[in-house]
């Protein structure tokens, strides 16, 4: 392990920066902002370096030799504990074709979030509140990257919870009028999910050995993916007829489904989004929602393949409900930001539909499409929330009926909006089309969920309906005089939008760079689930 610890640096750099920022006086606004900016730029650079050194043929998933940039040490080892034996937690980070797209996404979104936080103010307009904000944002950054990189269940859980805490304060302090309600709802909802996850983790921990020979309990996820590593009479062993595997599967699934969020666990999302400040909405929709989808693929799929096979139809069904229900709810909204929030619900449904398109020896189209959709939705929805932020910052209004004819007053902004909206409902040539096409082909080829796929296709019509309705109400029609003085996009806003727009266009025309990262991992993942 002589190589440079890319993953640790990537993960803990923001945390170190956060600690350092504590000692910077709050008045030094610029030092704080530039430190944060420096951190995210270094993260993007590290990601690029990793991407260039990434070995596309290695699969990862359930084979430690397939992971790259591994860092694996014993962290906490306690021997001779009664009933448990050896208690072992590892410091275990690794990267494969499933986590790489998520890491790339997190780095990009973190960068965008810092840029869009540049002039952040808390809800009471107190001066110098940005210090606490940036510290929390950096901690959040560490948390999300940790979730995507941790391969030790204990570490995973710590990072999973670490995300929660800064998010709570970021919404609760820098949020809108109902921020406290939204923050506590978000926090408790996710925490409830975390409890279920924790129970499942403990069950798995107590049942799995490091290997059949070394009877040492471990939190190593990869060990839990091999049924041979379970104590035959334990609660999680397939050999034990009275096992609790289904309950553990359910607990983990609900815990992760809350994050995605899947119907009916989605109602925290619109509230959190509406109250969160723009950059936090961007991180929330851009990265946090992906933690749920990612965790399902990383943890549930390889550890509980039988349950996944058995409940595949229901998972797809929830995806279908998300797509259609989310789309109709989006159409029913009067608040621009809530509309975008529900569009996230709808689009995350495509992810779930895609990853439920599993067939033995079938193609990986659905799975790959699902992961690609997470990436694409992350970038597109980041644009959408930034778009809401631009208009809210200028007018402090967000209702669809509060606007009209902005295309005349803000033509460049309208151009960006048009691109983002058409990207959101999957116009060919823009990134979401590729992933949605893959998901639909994958799901439609899977005979058991074909009917669900047909119903889900309503989502592609409805997507255009609610998006174009919003576009029409806000940007077309007669311009209103009250908005004659609105400034078009500023340089800082171009810096946020242009990179995302370029990503959306490039991956819409040429998605190969993303796909070659994922291909071998997805094949292995499919084999692991459908073995």
């Amino acid at each position: 392990m002589s190589q440079f610890p890319y993953l640790s640096v990537l993960t803990f750099l923001p945390l170190i920066a956060a600690l350092a920022l504590i000692f910077v006086p709050a008045e030094k606004k610029n030092s704080i902002r530039y430190t944060a900016l420096g951190v995210v730029i270094i993260q993007v650079l590290i990601t690029v370096v990793m991407w260039m050194n990434f070995n596309f043929s290695l699969a990862g998933i359930n084979d430690i030799n397939g992971y790259q940039f591994i860092e694996k040490f014993d962290w906490i080892v306690l021997t001779g504990i009664p009933l448990i034996g050896t208690f072992k937690i590892e410091y275990f980070l690794g990267l494969d074709g499933l986590s790489m797209p998520m890491v790339i996404l997190s780095s990009i979104i973190a960068f965008i979030a810092v840029i869009s936080s540049w002039n952040i103010e808390d809800s009471t307009h107190k001066p110098n509140s940005s210090k606490g904000y940036f510290i929390l944002l950096m901690i959040l950054n560490t948390g999300t990257l940790g979730v995507f990189l941790a391969l030790d269940f204990f570490m995973f859980y710590i990072f999973w919870e670490l995300v929660l805490l800064p998010m709570y304060f970021l919404i609760g302090i820098w949020g809108g009028p109902r921020r406290e309600y939204a923050a506590i709802k978000f926090f408790i909802y996710t925490l409830a999910g975390s409890v279920l996850i924790l129970l499942a983790i403990i069950g798995l921990y107590l049942s799995a050995y490091e290997s059949p020979e070394f009877k040492v309990h471990t939190f190593n996820m990869l060990n839990m993916m091999d049924a041979a590593n379970f104590k035959p009479d334990s609660v999680m062993s397939v050999l034990n007829p009275g096992n609790f595997r289904f309950l553990a599967f359910l607990g983990l699934f609900i815990g992760f489904a809350i994050k995605i969020p899947l119907f009916p666990f989605h109602t925290w999302l619109p509230d959190a989004h509406v109250e969160a400040p723009t950059p936090i909405s961007v991180v929330l929709a851009g990265v946090l929602l992906k933690m749920g989808g990612y965790a399902i693929l990383r943890i549930i799929y390889p550890i509980f393949p039988e349950q996944v096979q058995e409940w595949m139809w229901w998972i797809a069904c929830l995806g279908m409900i998300n797509i259609v229900y989310g789309a109709y709810c989006a159409l029913g909204q009067k608040d621009f930001k809530k509309l975008i929030a529900y569009s996230s619900v709808s689009h995350m449904g495509f992810v779930v539909l895609g990853i439920a398109a599993l067939a033995k020896g079938g193609s990986t189209l659905g799975l790959t499409g699902g992961v690609l959709q997470m990436f694409n939705h992350g970038t597109v929805t980041a644009m959408l929330f930034l778009i809401v932020g631009v208009i809210y910052e200028r007018t402090h209004k967000r209702g669809l009926d509060d606007f009209g004819g902005l295309s005349v007053q803000m033509p460049m902004y309208t151009g960006i909006v048009t691109l983002a909206f058409f990207a959101a409902f999957g116009l060919p040539g823009l990134s979401s089309f590729v992933s949605e096409l893959m998901i639909f082909i994958g799901a439609f080829s899977t005979e058991s969920i074909r009917t669900l796929t047909i119903i889900s296709a309503i989502g592609i019509v409805m997507g255009a309906v609610y998006m174009l309705r919003a576009l029409q109400k806000i940007f077309l029609g007669k311009p209103r005089e009250e908005y004659n003085d609105l400034k078009d996009l500023t340089l800082r806003e171009y810096i946020m939008f242009v990179p995302l727009a370029i990503i959306v266009i490039i991956f819409g025309i040429y998605p190969t760079p993303m796909l070659e990262i994922m291909n071998s991992s997805m094949t292995t993942l499919l084999d692991a689930v459908m073995k």
């Binding site: 925290w268 109709y328 029913g332 040539g429 089309f433 893959m438 082909i441 309906v465 174009l468 291909n519």
Partner: protein, 684 residues
């Protein structure tokens, strides 16, 4: 040679995209970038003319295809997404037509849009459209047809909404896109059906497979369903009933746009698509397709009779003519459909550009503001008459040739299968067409000026307006395309340009409606014979129709000098029914649109009060439980503790009384205790 042609084709498709970027990307201060875009369009036109002649003269029998894999999902045996560039004679002819009309529209727009501040954007969008349309024609892969299909939809959206600050343009562009998406829902599912069956998007491969008897889900019924799903896309794009409602509204866009996109090219993409997919349809599909086309044609023609907005007249006329093309496909005459598509593009684009010239001159679209314009705008007048004659199918015009083909094939179908409905649709439509288009001509160019102010200012414009009108009018004469003014059968258009490269008919599928049971290919000898025999009948009927329609229009608007107004009595109801477009928009408003919005509101309410309500209820119950346990803690648990403490306090209070500090008291107490103790012991 092949590579050379392919390079040409790639250039032709990509140049307009380059033009789009050139016009749209530079900052605002570069005001003249649109001129570069027009220049690029001219190069595209020249290249496509060269490509057309090179292909026709050097490789007339070949279908030139080049493919490469854009991306792969999964391993080597995984899903390959293949870019497909295909060129046959039909492609090069249509590429030529589209770039020609596109260039003429660009040229026309230089004057028509001269007062427009956002010229760069306008011409950029035209470039984007041209790119998408040329791309749509240049591929043999169903998914690429879909991709460009959506992109033409995008450019159509942008151009209809170009004057988005007008409310009608704002709602028209959304309506156009969304209505098309409804059709695309079917199109997309059809593509999925094809893919899961044939594991390919390649149409030529799929046709081979159908020919070999491989059907979706193994049955002919599902082939019919797949075909109809794909046809749903064409219903949207080519504005056929019941998805035709977007096209008349789309007239809110600039008129040159209407000429290019909503008359000549994009709306014809649906017809092009079903011609391309011809081998995929079963007999049932054909019958349904033909019926939808015929019904749309007739319905739109009845609506066009009473419109007073000159662009609306032409819009419904377009729906009607597209309906005839769809009908032609339905009766198995794809030649007729595609040739009518080509010819219609010329005269309908001309009609629209002519109407643009009129609008540019009078600043009105209301036919009541016109009249007598023939003296003021002679070029517009003469060219419009030529276009109108072509539209009604007057002899010596191209319209005669293509319409005759449609009528002959539908009557042939009738005499072979006994099903004359398609022929009746076609005849009625043609009759109405010759009436409404000459109503248009008479009301605009003849009679007394009804709006003198507009009349005074009207004039023919400069060369930018005139040249496109004259070029298109010249193209309306038969001799440009053939030396035989009577029929196109057996000419180079039918035998060379528009023969489908491969008509592989499924062995298991019989087109009995075409062959009347005769064995062999789709066009049996019986068919050809019947076709030939009916030509003369059709010509006579056709001439009767034309003179009848034009005569009636002449009688009403020239002799009687009627002006458009609602008549009395029952006729008035019929008139309103026609003018209100059969009240279909109103019907959709109260059913589909209200229904969708209602459902959305319902979902929102359910989400807010039921789904979220349960969560909030849970939170409330938890709070109540919390209060309860807090109360329990305070009054019961803590109360018990306090009780114990209180009792202790009480006891100690009593005991305190004894703590006096006086030795005498203690001694007394000790004595009393000892006395009681001794008494106790002894009593036992």
């Amino acid at each position: 040679m092949n590579t050379q042609l392919t390079i040409f084709q790639v250039l032709i498709v990509l140049l307009p995209l380059f033009g789009f970027l050139v016009a749209i990307l530079p900052p605002k201060s570069y005001k003249k970038m649109y001129i570069a875009e027009v220049g690029i369009m001219f190069i595209t036109l020249v290249l496509s003319a060269v490509l057309f002649f090179m292909k026709i003269f050097s490789l007339p029998d070949e279908t030139i295809r080049s493919t490469f894999t854009l991306f792969t999902v999964g391993g080597s045996d995984g899903f390959n997404f293949i870019v497909d560039l295909t060129m046959d004679n039909m492609t090069v002819a249509l590429l030529f037509m589209v770039s020609l009309i596109s260039f003429l529209v660009h040229f026309f727009s230089l004057e028509y849009m001269s007062h427009e501040p956002l010229k760069n954007r306008y011409f950029g969008y035209l470039g984007l459209f041209t790119f998408s349309m040329l791309g749509l024609l240049s591929t043999g892969s169903i998914i690429f047809i879909y991709i460009f299909w959506e992109l033409v939809g995008l450019s159509s959206y942008l151009l209809i909404g170009f004057w988005g600050f007008k409310d009608e343009a704002a709602s028209a562009c959304s309506k156009a896109f969304i209505t098309n998406r409804v059709g695309d829902f079917g199109f997309f599912l059809g593509i999925l059906m094809l893919f899961i069956t044939y594991n390919s998007f390649d149409l030529f491969f799929i046709f081979d497979q159908i020919g070999a008897g491989k059907f979706p889900l193994g049955s002919e019924m599902w082939l019919t369903v797949t075909g109809l799903l794909l046809f749903a896309g064409a219903v949207g794009k080519s504005a056929q009933f019941p998805l035709h409602v977007w096209l008349p509204d789309a007239m809110a866009g600039p008129t040159p746009v209407s000429a290019l996109i909503h008359a000549a090219t994009m709306v014809a993409a649906g017809v092009y698509m079903i011609v391309r997919l011809f081998p995929l349809f079963t007999e049932t599909s054909f019958l349904i397709i033909g019926f939808i086309g015929g019904f749309s044609a007739l319905m739109a023609a009845t609506i066009a009779l009473t419109q007073i907005d000159i662009k609306k007249i032409l819009a419904y006329s377009t729906v009607s003519q597209l309906g005839l093309m769809v009908l032609a496909v339905g009766v198995g005459a794809y030649h007729a459909a595609i040739i009518h598509l080509l010819f219609h593009a010329f005269f309908k684009a001309g009609l629209f550009l002519g109407s643009g010239a009129i609008i540019h001159a009078t600043h009105s679209q209301d036919i009541n503001d016109m009249g007598g314009l023939r003296k003021k705008m002679p070029v517009t007048f003469y060219t419009t008459v030529i276009y109108s004659l072509a539209l009604v199918g007057f002899p010596l015009t191209i319209g005669f040739l293509s319409k005759e083909m449609i009528l002959t094939s539908s009557i042939t179908l009738g005499s072979l299968s006994g099903n004359y409905i398609y022929f009746i649709f076609a005849v009625l439509t043609s009759t109405l067409t010759s009436f409404y288009i000459f109503r248009y001509v008479f009301l605009i160019f003849f009679g007394e000026p009804r709006n003198h102010h507009a009349y005074e200012h009207a004039h023919d414009f400069n060369i930018f307006i005139k040249l496109p009108l004259i070029v298109l009018a010249a193209l309306c004469f038969f001799f440009i395309f053939t030396f035989n003014p009577i029929t196109l059968h057996g000419t180079w258009l039918t035998d060379l340009i528009f023969r489908l490269p491969k008509i592989l008919l499924p062995d298991n599928v019989t087109y009995s409606f075409l062959t009347n049971g005769a064995e062999g290919s789709i066009y049996s000898e019986v068919y050809a014979h019947t076709m030939h025999a009916s030509e003369i009948v059709v010509t006579i009927i056709s001439l009767l129709i034309i003179s009848g329609g034009i005569g009636t229009a002449w009688y009403m608007y020239m002799k009687k000098k009627l002006v458009p107004k609602v008549p009395e009595g029952f006729l008035g109801k019929a008139y309103m029914f026609s003018q209100k477009a059969w009240y279909i928009n109103e019907l959709y408003d109260v059913t589909v649109i209200k229904g969708t919005m209602l459902f959305a509101t319902l979902m929102t309410i359910i989400d807010k009060y039921l789904v979220d309500g349960i969560i909030n209820l849970g939170a409330k119950i938890t709070m109540i439980l919390g209060r309860f346990s807090a109360g329990f803690d305070k009054y019961v648990v803590d109360g018990f503790v306090n009780l114990v403490a209180w009792i202790n306090g009480l006891i100690s209070m009593i005991l305190r009384k004894f703590q006096t500090g006086k030795v005498q008291t203690y001694l007394t107490l000790v004595m009393v205790f000892i006395v009681f103790f001794v008494m106790y012991i002894f009593s036992n």
